[in-house]
């Protein structure tokens, strides 16, 4: 993974930055291979000092007592849909980032499938305007092609300059080889990743869920796993040719993971993310047409989920990203095949990671922090984030890894409540989210 140089997008909602100390917590920072009792001093929006517990030289005006808590570099969700501009009945940049803060995320990368599509610098700048009222850092991801139509390339350089950190046509896969090659070449020059929503739509027309026994039982058209793996295989070939950074969004199948492993084995710059719902749920969970279990890519088979759990543990999977996709109640409250794809995920991600990856599958917290912070920063080239090294941005998440709680979708800070995890018992919850030295959420 390469780290792009200059980075953009820090939003200062409030210019009043005080000195803040976070003391007595168990600090986990994989970027510095730190795991132990350390205190932090945040000053002027940066990490000013990190010292063994009780040994801070500087003093803060305010203190967070993190006794019994985990302190880590701020969580980063590199795949969210904030729906602004254009669909503010589902979510706004303000409401989505409030949900992010409540879920422990200090930064989010937002997808370009807005209305209008984020395919030019004006839209990117609009998203980054302080008037949007973001509660955490927002890093827009721009469209790779105009209108995400897969025909004409957007102006990567001007989008990058306006603050975009990557390009994608998320939701509308880039199928055409020539266009994908051009995207790789253009992004390669700027050192930013091309993110692919890997779905060969020629194989998924009219499909609403993964193919298999459950789709047959429900009489729904099945969505083959090859629709994902075939495209990832093609992309890995093109990435090898162009030496560009290829990132697979919401990878969901064993086959696609195999292709990513092969790319990594061949030292290609290939990375991928997995959503909490794909490691938490399988296609059988759709039940009798619960549209809160309808997403793209669909929930997959047990075997796919097991392959993802292996990849999350052994490092083949780089990041966890939520694919937070808010939809209103009415939009989801209809025929399964007509309901929109997607679920919200910002406030359940950390709890699911700790409950399922940590408690159930014994994946160490250090690795979970890597998946939620260290690696997302690296993949998106967010210099000075995903780390608590001295001088880094003062983005810090404090969470209680032992806290047992029940998630109620109705209490979500998101404008939408479309979650399959409503009523789930979770372990692990954010208690403080600090963005640029400011406390943006406190449980």
């Amino acid at each position: 993974m390469k780290t792009a140089g200059k980075e953009f997008g820090l939003i200062r909602v409030n210019s009043r930055l005080s000195n803040l100390t976070i003391r007595n917590g168990l600090l986990i920072d994989p970027s510095q291979k730190l795991e132990g009792k350390y205190d932090l001093l945040l000053k002027d929006g940066r990490v000013a000092e990190i010292a063994q517990a009780g040994k801070l030289k500087g003093k803060g005006d305010e203190n967070i007592d993190a006794r019994g808590m985990i302190v880590c570099p701020g969580l980063i969700d590199i795949h969210v849909h904030l729906r602004e501009p254009g669909q503010s009945h589902k979510e706004t940049i303000a409401s989505g980032t409030l949900a992010a803060a409540a879920g422990g995320f200090t930064s989010v990368c937002c997808m370009p499938n807005t209305a209008p599509v984020n395919d030019n610098a004006d839209v990117t700048r609009w998203m980054l305007d302080p008037a949007r009222g973001a509660h955490v850092n927002v890093f827009p991801i721009a469209a790779a092609t105009l209108g995400s139509k897969g025909e004409q390339m957007t102006d990567f350089a001007s989008l990058r300059k306006a603050g975009a950190v990557a390009v994608t046509d998320d939701g509308k896969p880039i199928l055409n080889d020539a266009i994908m090659r051009q995207a790789f070449l253009g992004a390669g020059k700027l050192g930013i990743p091309v993110i692919q929503h890997a779905e060969d739509t020629r194989m998924t027309a009219g499909s609403a869920m993964n193919s298999g026994p459950t789709a047959f039982r429900l009489g729904l058209r099945g969505w083959p796993s090859e629709a994902e793996s075939n495209l990832v295989e093609r992309d890995v070939r093109l990435a090898a040719e162009t030496k560009a950074h290829y990132h697979v969004a919401h990878l969901s199948t064993a086959g696609a993971l195999k292709a990513v492993r092969k790319g990594k084995h061949n030292h290609l710059n290939v990375t991928c993310e997995v959503t909490p719902h794909h490691f938490a749920l399988i296609d059988e969970n759709v039940g009798d047409y619960d549209t809160n279990f309808k997403m793209n890519p669909p929930l997959r088979s047990k075997a796919d989920r097991e392959a993802l759990l292996v990849g999350l543990a052994d490092g083949a999977i780089d990041c966890i990203a939520t694919d937070h996709a808010p939809h209103s109640f009415d939009e989801k409250n209809r025929e399964f095949d007509h309901a929109p794809f997607g679920i919200i995920g910002l406030e359940t991600a950390l709890g699911l990671c700790i409950s399922i990856l940590g408690v159930k599958h014994k994946i160490p917290l250090r690795r979970i922090v890597e998946l939620l912070s260290t690696n997302p920063a690296k993949v998106m080239g967010l210099a000075g984030r995903g780390t608590l090294a001295r001088g880094a941005y003062a983005d810090v998440t404090v969470f209680d890894a032992a806290k047992k709680w029940t998630y109620h979708a109705k209490d979500s800070h998101s404008k939408s409540k479309n979650s399959p995890f409503d009523g789930w018992q979770m372990q692990g919850r954010a208690v403080a989210t600090v963005v640029g030295g400011e406390v943006k959420f406190r449980a």
């Binding site: 047959f216 039982r217 047409y289 409250n333 025929e335 399964f336 095949d337």
Partner: protein, 301 residues
């Protein structure tokens, strides 16, 4: 049945529930049924064209003394883009005591049931279920066979797109019948065997029909093939029910078809009209079974 209830499918019913419907259907099987639902209002909400099922429900409802109203896709607010939930709520507000719904989307009746207070009866949803057909098929089988237990039932043709198959398989499996599904891989995926216990798959019609007690032929649903091309000549050669093939089944085997039937495609006319065919009887029994369903779902019997 004490309380009103919806009938969305047969999958989640117990064998006892099924038996109760069938017993009630036998009571309805009389020249002068009692108007048990006098004064009730029944809405027949048909998003898909249908003659057989719609008229069958309509007659059943009228024989029970109800006021019925048919709302079909080509008329009304449906074409104006109103959601199924809003249409359902409107019918409920108009005083409908029950909605019978036919819809091209699998699970559409479940959406209505989740959002309304009145019973919803599934009259066929997409490729999912067709519970009234499943019940009338069982009713018809039991008019000719002592019991469903151990019965060898071969279903041949377009299994993938058939809601009739799914309802039949769920029901038959609850009673210990042996179900053999037969068809080409494009119309019968291997995953179909996981639908219920004791379901087998065969690609050869001869194998499927051997010693069968019941043969159920299915139409190729061209409208649902979604681009899939099927060689009709090859299909007829491999999967048409011919007199020669029928001989492989038990001597007293019955031949069924849920309709609509394409003579010369999946079945030859001389069989459809022959002595072993119960196809017309299925249609007749449909009215009694649907009277039973309406009565039970409205909590009257």
């Amino acid at each position: 049945m004490p309380k009103p209830c919806s009938l969305l499918g047969l999958e989640h019913l117990s064998a006892d529930d099924v038996t109760r419907f069938l017993k009630l259907a036998r009571k309805m099987h009389t020249p002068h049924p009692k108007p048990l639902l006098r004064g009730k209002r029944i809405a027949l909400l048909f998003y898909e064209p249908s003659t057989r099922t719609r008229v069958s429900f309509e007659f059943a409802a009228k024989l029970l003394g109800t006021h019925t109203s048919v709302i079909s896709a080509d008329s009304s607010s449906i074409t104006k883009g109103e959601s199924i939930v809003d249409t359902g709520k409107t019918l409920q507000a108009l005083g409908a005591d029950c909605i019978v719904v036919r819809h091209p989307s699998s699970g559409a009746p479940n959406v209505l049931a989740r959002n309304l207070r009145i019973p919803i009866i599934n009259a066929g949803d997409g490729m999912h279920e067709h519970p009234s057909q499943g019940l009338l098929d069982a009713y018809t089988m039991l008019r000719h066979k002592k019991s469903l237990k151990g019965l060898r039932v071969a279903m041949v043709g377009d299994i993938q797109h058939s809601r009739v198959v799914r309802s039949n398989v769920h029901l038959l499996s609850k009673f210990g019948a042996q179900v053999i599904l037969c068809g080409p891989p494009e119309l019968l995926p291997d995953t179909a065997a996981a639908l219920a216990p004791d379901v087998k798959i065969s690609r050869h019609m001869e194998e499927a029909l051997r010693k069968a007690d019941v043969i159920m032929m299915l139409r190729v649903q061209k409208e649902r093939l979604a681009g899939l091309k099927l060689d009709a000549h090859k299909y007829v050669a491999q999967y048409q029910l011919t007199p020669e093939r029928l001989k492989l089944a038990k001597n007293d085997a019955i031949v069924m078809h849920p309709g609509p039937m394409v003579r010369g495609m999946e079945i030859q006319s001389e069989i459809a009209d022959g002595p072993q065919s119960v196809i017309e009887e299925q249609v007749q029994n449909g009215v009694y079974v649907r009277m039973a369903i309406l009565t039970a779902c409205m909590g009257v019997a």
